[in-house]
């Protein structure tokens, strides 16, 4: 029993039963988070290091809160002002930290596959908090939890993932998870941001017309346009992107249907989402954030036990 794997490196290797176990455990933890004492003592003998080689506020805080709510001890390693700046290798850094008897590693790194590399070389349990443009499994899990909370079940749910699909680890993890759980997936965005042979490689349908994608879907998961990329020849300008692929209230009113809006954050207001939509009645973006702590608690709890 428990999870089938020792690490959470990606949704790709998870079984459907693992996903269901994580989501149902997350429910119990969400209840804990509603109480006045938001803590349980389950992981009080565990020390967890948050190894963030890429800047992140929301994911790191979410993990840190999850760890503290489980009564674990947490250690933070951020890229700036660290030994990595002095040229220490990843393996050396982690082995140094492990020598201080740390039990689990939560890692975000700009190189795809970094957590997989680590998993081969160290005995601690590893949780991938985002590796390059590969996967971001806990984001997909909290997205799934939020959709399940709203719709009851993921089976047959029509999900449109909108935006920079090419560079998105959130998109890939979501695609793996939603297909394992029986949802239908459309990816929508400009052709320059969607890999050419995507339909052949993954169980998705590609749609370059945003309005058609929204007319079909029950829920739209809107990805962030990385502002760093606006000077690359991928789209002409942020304003043009917004005209063609931004979700505005006017567009939603024209479609005349209720579409649940999701976004992994942080939102570029006025680019991929207009403020009225992000703050509107169909948005469950803040629920996603709330659910993120519960889902991460579930993952930490289920993986910690495997150490024995």
């Amino acid at each position: 029993m428990g999870l089938s794997a020792k690490h959470l490196l990606g949704i790709k290797d998870l079984l459907k039963e693992d996903i269901e176990l994580i989501l149902s455990t997350a429910s119990q933890f969400k209840d804990v988070l509603q109480r006045s004492v938001k803590k349980v003592p389950s992981l009080r003998d565990v020390t967890i290091v948050n190894l963030f080689y890429e800047n992140s506020t929301r994911t790191r805080i979410s993990f840190e809160l999850a760890e503290k709510r489980l009564s674990a001890d947490t250690v933070n390693f951020a890229i700036s002002g660290s030994s990595a700046a002095k040229g220490e290798t990843l393996l050396d850094t982690v082995n140094n930290i492990l020598s201080m008897k740390v039990d689990m590693v939560v890692m975000r790194h700009s190189a795809s596959g970094a957590p997989h590399f680590l998993a081969k070389h160290i005995p601690a349990a590893i949780i991938n908090a985002g590796d390059g443009i590969n996967e971001h499994p806990t984001q997909a899990l909290l997205d799934a939890y939020s959709m399940q909370e709203k719709f009851g079940s993921l089976k047959g749910l029509r999900v449109a993932i909108v935006g920079d699909i090419m560079h998105s680890r959130v998109a890939l993890s979501n695609i793996y998870l939603l297909s394992k759980m029986g949802a239908e997936i459309v990816v929508a965005g400009p052709p320059t941001l969607i890999p050419t042979y995507m339909e052949a490689a993954l169980p998705v349908r590609v749609e370059y017309n945003l309005e058609k994608a929204l007319a079909w879907c029950d829920v739209a998961n809107v990805l962030r346009i990385q502002l760093e990329r606006q000077n690359q020849p991928l789209f002409s300008s942020l304003r043009e992107y917004n005209q063609a692929y931004g979700i505005s209230k006017r567009l939603l009113d024209r479609l005349g249907k209720e579409i649940t809006i999701m976004h992994p954050g942080p939102i570029n207001r006025g680019v991929e989402l207009d403020s009225e939509v992000a703050d509107g009645p169909y948005s469950i973006i803040l629920n996603q954030v709330e659910n993120g702590v519960a889902v991460r608690m579930a993952v930490l709890y289920l993986l910690a036990g495997r150490n024995n």
Partner: protein, 173 residues
Amino acid sequence: MKTILSKQQIGLTVKRLAQQVLENHPSLEETVIIGIQPRGVYLSDQVVRELENIVSPGLIRYGKLDITFYRDDVRKEFHVANKTDIPFSIENRNVVIIDDVLYTGRTIRAALDALLDFGRPARVELCVLIDRRFSRELPIQPDYIGRAIDTIPADKVKVYWQERDGKDEVVIV
């Protein structure tokens, strides 16, 4: 396999337990009944139903507690967590914990820790269907006992409930 309590005996015992609880809590106004997940809730459902037959139903504060996250062996074995539903305050109230079998006492120790995270009760009492006496690993004793039995560690006491197993019976295997 040996039957400790038959269906009829379980029915009578539940009635008696409910009446004993009522003896000590005549008004039930400041009393809270908590059933322990996953198996104690079948017993607590029945005790509460019995109490509702005697006093008016609206009076009884009934909640369910899952102690998985408070276990002292939480990471040695894997346990599925069930729902905790305590939709009222336990602050300054008299709590009656209900579980099916009291064995080592570790579950109740965990339940006490969990309850204290909900508030500070005035008093906590324990009601069990079966007390495996002389098997305690912690200093915990029941206040209301269905049947006290003597067992060795190799024995397993199984409580079967109609809703889950299709019959009401308590056996030792």
